[in-house]
C-alpha cells in the first residue's frame, strides 16, 4: 500500500459522498468501543466542499440572489465535485464558474444568469489585477491636436480592464442588486432583460467600476488590446456599427483611464 494509493482513494472519497470511507482509518474506538469513522471522515468532506461552495458564494452574491441560496449552493456543489480548483490561488476558480453555469441545465430558465456571473467573476479578476498608472489626460489633448499622430498611435490598455458582450441586460440586472442590505429584495421591474448590453469592468486605481459600453466599443477595445493602431480600431468599430459615434469611443478612453502606455510620435 503506497502513499499514492491512499491519497488517491482519500481524495476521490472526499468528493463523492456516496463512496465509502477509505480503509485504514483508526479512530481509537468510542467509550463503548464503537467506531465512528463516517462522522470523522465527514469533517474533511465538509471542509472541502463547504469551503469551496462558500468561496463561490462570496464571489457571486448577485448570481446567488437571482436563483436563491439553496439553488445556488446546490449548483456550486455540483461544480466543486465535478471540477475542483486546479490551483491553491482561488482567484482563478471564480473564472470558470460562469461557463459551468452556462452549461448547467437546471439554470437554463434564467438565461441571463451566466452573464451576470461573468460580470462578478471579472470584477474579482480586476480587483486582483496588476496596478498600472493611467496616462495623463493632457496626453489625450496632445493627440487630438495632432490627428495624424493620433491615428497611428497604439495603446496598452489597463491590465485591470475587461469587457464582455451579453445577449441580455446583464449590467442592468447586476446594477439593480447594488447598494442593498438584502440582495433578495432587488427588483428587475422595468428592466427589459432581453435587451443586449455590452459591459466594461475597470479598476483605474483601487475601486472596481462596472458600466455599460456604447455600441462599437467592444470591437474598438478588442482591436486596441490586440495592438492595432487607433485608426484600425476605429475602422473595426465602424465595420460593426453603421452610425458609429467615434467621439464617444475616444471619450471612453479618457473617462475610464483606460490607456496606461501610448506609443505615439508627438513631434510633427
Amino acid at each position: 500500500m503506497t502513499g499514492a494509493v491512499v491519497q488517491h482513494e482519500f481524495a476521490t472519497a472526499l468528493l463523492m459522498p456516496a463512496m465509502r470511507v477509505p480503509a485504514g482509518i483508526r479512530d481509537g474506538g468510542g467509550q463503548d468501543g464503537a467506531h465512528d469513522q463516517e462522522r470523522r471522515f465527514a469533517v474533511h468532506r465538509n471542509n472541502v466542499v463547504v469551503s469551496l461552495v462558500d468561496a463561490l458564494a462570496a464571489t457571486f452574491p448577485v448570481s446567488q440572489a437571482l436563483v436563491g441560496e439553496e439553488f445556488f449552493r446546490a449548483m456550486a456543489r455540483e461544480r466543486v465535485q465535478a471540477d475542483p480548483p486546479r490551483s491553491p490561488v482561488l482567484i482563478e476558480y471564480a473564472q470558470g464558474f460562469a461557463d459551468f453555469i452556462a452549461g448547467f441545465a437546471p439554470a437554463a430558465s434564467v438565461p441571463y444568469l451566466a452573464d451576470v456571473a461573468r460580470i462578478e467573476a471579472l470584477r474579482v479578476r480586476a480587483y486582483h489585477a496588476a496596478d498600472a498608472l493611467p496616462v495623463p489626460e493632457s496626453l489625450y489633448r496632445e493627440l487630438v491636436a495632432a490627428p495624424e499622430v493620433l491615428a497611428a498611435a497604439r495603446m496598452t490598455l489597463h491590465p485591470a480592464s475587461h469587457w464582455l458582450r451579453s445577449d441580455h441586460a446583464a449590467h442592468s440586472i447586476w446594477l439593480a442588486h447594488q447598494g442593498l442590505e438584502d440582495l433578495a429584495s432587488a427588483s428587475l421591474d422595468g428592466i427589459d432583460v432581453e435587451r443586449a448590453e455590452d459591459v466594461l469592468i475597470v479598476r483605474p486605481a483601487f475601486e472596481v467600476v462596472v458600466t455599460t459600453l456604447p455600441r462599437g466599443a467592444i470591437e474598438f477595445l478588442d482591436a486596441l488590446r490586440a495592438g492595432q493602431i487607433l485608426a484600425a480600431a476605429f475602422a473595426a468599430a465602424q465595420a460593426a456599427v453603421d452610425d458609429l459615434d467615434s467621439g464617444a469611443l475616444f471619450t471612453l478612453l479618457i473617462q475610464h483611464d483606460l490607456a496606461v502606455v501610448v506609443d505615439a510620435t508627438l513631434e510633427p
Binding site: H8, A11, I25, D36, R39, P88, D131, P159
Partner: protein, 300 residues
C-alpha cells in the same frame, strides 16, 4: 524557565529576525481601517500567502501599508507539503515573490496535504506517519527551504482520526522532521488539544514528545465540538470562536516551559469585530506577562 527574567530564550529571536515574542492577530481585509487606527496595535500580523497571489490591487496596497508599521508572518495554506507530488514549482515561485516583496519575519506551512492529481482540495488533509511519508515530507521541506532561501516553520495539524499504517506518533514524526530538515516549529496549541481529544491522547505527553526548543511561533484559535454517536466528543478546528479555556491553560503551561514566544490569534470563519480579535491578543499578552513578567521596556 519559570522565573520572571526578561532575558530572551531560545524561542525569542534577536531584533533583526523572527517575530516579536508578543501576541499578534491573523489579518482580515475588513479590519484594515481599525488596525491602522489602533494606537496600541498587536505586535505583528499574519497573512495567508494565497490571498496575496494576485498581481496587484487592494490586497497588496493594504499589506504594503501594514508592513510599513508591523512585522508580518507569512502563512501558507496551499503548498501541500505532505502530498505524493513534489511541491509545485509555480507555487514556490509565487511564495518566493511574496517573501522577496514583504520580507516576512517568518514563513510557515502545515504538516498536511491539500492537492492531488493537479487538483486543490482546500483542506489540510492528514498523513499516515510512516517511514515513507517521513522521507517524502523531509525531501519536500528540503526543496522548499532551498528554493525560498528561508528556514520555514512547520505547523502541527488538527486530526480527526489516525491511520493504521502509522508507525510513528504525531509528535515523534514531527521531531524527526525537525531533526532531519532543520525547520522550525509553529506550535498550534489548539491543534494539539483538538488532535489529542479526538484521538484520546494526553496533551501534556504530546507536548513533552515535541522538540519544543524548535518552537518559533504559537497559534491559538477557537474550535467547535460535536457529539459522536458513541457519546464521545469530536472537536473541529474551525477558527470560528474565541480560544477555549482548556486551550488557554495548555498554552500557559507551554509558555512556562519554552519561555516568551510570538503568539498568534487566528479567527477565520464568522470573523468578529476587530476589537474582539484584539482582546484575544491582549489576553494572550496578559498570560505571558503573568508567567514571564511585564514586557515593558522589552525590545520588540
Amino acid at each position: 524557565m519559570s522565573d520572571s527574567s526578561h532575558a530572551p530564550t531560545a524561542a525569542c529571536p534577536p531584533a533583526s529576525a523572527g517575530l516579536p515574542c508578543r501576541a499578534g492577530v491573523g489579518y482580515k481585509f475588513q479590519h484594515f481601517d481599525e488596525l491602522g487606527a489602533d494606537p496600541d496595535p498587536p505586535a505583528f500580523v499574519e497573512v495567508h500567502a494565497e490571498n496575496y497571489m494576485g498581481a496587484g490591487g487592494v490586497p497588496h496596497a493594504q499589506l504594503t501599508r501594514i508592513r510599513e508599521r508591523l512585522p508580518v508572518s507569512l502563512h501558507g495554506v496551499g503548498l501541500s507539503i505532505g502530498a505524493d507530488a513534489t511541491p509545485d514549482p509555480a507555487h514556490l515561485d509565487r511564495l518566493a515573490a511574496l517573501i522577496d516583496r514583504y520580507q516576512p519575519a517568518e514563513f510557515s506551512e502545515h504538516l498536511a496535504w491539500s492537492t492531488h492529481d493537479g487538483r486543490f482540495l482546500n483542506d489540510l488533509l492528514p498523513l499516515s506517519y510512516d517511514a515513507a511519508t517521513l522521507q517524502r515530507v523531509c525531501e519536500h521541506i528540503d526543496r522548499i527551504q532551498a528554493r525560498l532561501g528561508v528556514r520555514m516553520l512547520l505547523e502541527n495539524p488538527s486530526t480527526y482520526f489516525e491511520f493504521e499504517a502509522s508507525t510513528f506518533s504525531e509528535p515523534d514524526f514531527i521531531a524527526a522532521v525537525v531533526r532531519r530538515t532543520g525547520c522550525g516549529l509553529l506550535l498550534d496549541v489548539n491543534n494539539v488539544y483538538v488532535s489529542c481529544c479526538n484521538n484520546r491522547h494526553d496533551p501534556s505527553a504530546y507536548l513533552a514528545a515535541l522538540p519544543l526548543s524548535a518552537v518559533r511561533q504559537i497559534h491559538l484559535a477557537g474550535h467547535a465540538q460535536e457529539r459522536l454517536a458513541d457519546g464521545g466528543l469530536l472537536l473541529i478546528d474551525n477558527h470560528g470562536a474565541p480560544v477555549a479555556d482548556p486551550v488557554w491553560d495548555l498554552h500557559a503551561r507551554t509558555l512556562v516551559t519554552i519561555g516568551p514566544t510570538a503568539t498568534l490569534i487566528e479567527w477565520d470563519t464568522d470573523v468578529p469585530a476587530y476589537a474582539t480579535l484584539r482582546a484575544q491578543a491582549r489576553h494572550a499578552d496578559r498570560i505571558a506577562d503573568g508567567i514571564h513578567g511585564s514586557s515593558e521596556g522589552m525590545a520588540a
